[in-house]
């Protein structure tokens, strides 16, 4: 029984089309032109309980819109969604007590008060039993190592500390489904790592369902077995992280270390040279030709060491985004 089910979920916004210049601005006072923007175009997605799913995609791809739809902040233009059996945008209190949304760029805590006051408020809002509240709070503060900071006003916390407090506030009522929108944005490497470790541990222990959007490939690689690539409002890939490379990159990276005195001449004719720092040469070769080329090279050159690798994930995904962007641009220009 899936915990999250999206069917043909679509969201379009009407945005005011602003023209340049003062004259146009004055005209805009009484006649405004609006343009429909499709942020999410008919997404189908099924998530089973206990899954940790990452949404990857460039800015404006529709990741955050999808999370907003699932948490009931916005209503879709078409399609349906069910989370734990609830329709999110009906905003039933029973549903709202069972999920949480954390946005890396938005603050839910009371700015001028110590975090523990915000936590107390959450205890009442979410109706958490006193004993369970204390137990959860102790566990979370120990895991995130913020016990000493509970009494400090939120405005005096660092960004990383604040993010930890945001997570505690979101998890106090033990939500079964957690939506994380860029939880590590703007954090330094250590803080990012801490949050990742915490999320991994907590998810494994509680077996809650988490949907995460992030720009940091490290977040995704560390946390999620399942990756959903969204570009331009629709799902382009749904599967494992390593599977992305297999599906979207036709190339392999060949690293050669030439023997002393061996000239690299001629290599550029048989394959694309990506980097040359003698005696090291890096070639980019079509996946199907790897064996044939390797044989040829070993025959004609004196090689000390050789390695075959997949291209880096970031590169593959960047290419994937760019490719879809280019396709979208060309169809858009055709349409106009």
């Amino acid at each position: 029984m899936p915990i999250i089910e999206l069917r043909q979920l679509t969201k379009s916004y009407r945005v005011y089309q602003k023209q340049e210049g003062l004259a146009a601005a004055i005209r805009g006072l009484w006649r405004r032109e609006y343009r429909e923007v499709l942020a999410v175009k008919g997404i189908d997605l099924t998530v089973e309980p206990g899954e940790f799913v990452a949404f990857l995609g460039p800015n404006g791809a529709g990741k955050t819109t999808t999370l907003k739809l699932l948490s009931g902040v916005i209503t879709p233009s078409a399609g349906s969604a069910r989370v734990m059996g609830y329709v999110p945008w009906e905003r039933a209190n029973e549903y709202r007590r069972r999920f949480a949304l954390v946005m890396g760029q938005k603050n839910q805590l009371w700015w001028d008060l110590p975090s523990q006051e915000s936590f107390r408020l959450h205890q009442q809002i979410y109706r958490i039993e006193a004993q369970q509240f204390q137990h959860c709070l102790d566990e979370l503060t120990d895991l995130l190592k913020v016990r000493g900071l509970l009494g400090r006003p939120v405005r005096e916390l660092s960004l990383g500390e604040r993010m930890k407090m945001e997570l505690i506030a979101a998890l106090l009522h033990s939500p079964e489904v957690l939506f994380l929108d860029e939880p590590t944005i703007g954090l330094d490497v250590v803080a990012q790592h801490n949050i990742q470790q915490f999320l991994r541990f907590y998810q494994a222990e509680r077996q809650i369902t988490i949907l995460l959007t992030s720009h940091y490939m490290k977040d995704v690689a560390a946390l999620c077995r399942r990756v959903v690539v969204i570009t331009d409002g629709s799902i382009k890939y749904d599967g494992s992280l390593s599977g992305i490379v297999d599906s979207f990159s036709g190339a392999k990276i060949l690293r050669l270390q030439l023997a002393e005195g061996q000239s690299p001449d001629g290599l550029e004719r048989i394959a694309q040279v990506q980097q040359m720092e003698l005696p090291k040469v890096t070639l980019r070769v079509p996946r199907a030709d790897v064996l044939k080329l390797l044989e040829h090279i070993l025959q004609h050159y004196q090689i000390e060491d050789v390695g075959v690798e997949d291209p880096p994930l970031e590169e593959v995904i960047a290419n994937l985004f760019e490719h879809h962007q280019a396709v979208a641009d060309s169809t858009a220009s055709q349409a106009s």
Partner: protein, 295 residues
Amino acid sequence: MTHELSNPSRGRSGWLSGREWQLRAACWWTVFRIALEERLAYRGDFALGTLMRFLPIITQIFLWYAVFDAIDAGAGKRLAGYSFQDMVAYYLLSMLGRAFSSMPGLASSIARQIRDGEIKKFIIQPVDMVGFLLLGRIAHKIAYYTVAALPFALVFFLCRGYFTDGWPPAPQFLAFVLSLILAFLLGYLMDLCIGLIGFWFLEVSSLLFVYMLLNFFLSGHMFPLDLLPEPWHSLVAWLPLKYLAYFPAAVFLGKIPADALAWEMGLECLWVVVLLVCARVLYARGLHRYSGYGG
């Protein structure tokens, strides 16, 4: 129908159960307590701001003195039934009314929360914004009265000579207290409604400016509304603004005839209900619009 069934907090009759009330009361108390703490976080600025509000009293007393002097009121001349003493007493009492009904920063903070998306908090969490903000305001007011009570008492004591009729009889005083509480509710609801218009306009500061300007003159903050010529006087009598400053003061000073008092209070309660419905509708429609277009 399914919604009703899935809501265990309501019994078969539709009334909230005792347990539900208990949970809600605990939540309200926490919201109130935290809002109070937040208010006291900046106590220096808060105390100074509270005390500064008393400065205009002196200028106002001088102003009315000059006015009555100019019309040669020494011989007991009155302005629309107000002697100089009455006028000062009125001013002090209307200030007390304003201390209940003014909501500094409420409308603009709601509009800001809509603009920068902080309003999402009330969509995601199982908490009602109208009630949440009301509790916050009650906390603000109580913090304010705690600081302002002493200076208020001092000012009234020093100016006791202006209250020529002394204390009003008990029923009239009770009506005065009730009118202050209703003034608080009306002030809250009006500012709330203006803030909620932010769902449509995003920026409400000019609207708020117009409202404040009207409020200043038509609530009786500037001068007793009895001074207004017709048809303004009749018009203002039907507006809710007069309850924010004029009405409590007029009740205290016995300017409202005893037979009209009940009717006036009834009208004030009606305004509270009307504005509450207004706020509810604006909030529901605003959220609908927000979730449809923005977010």
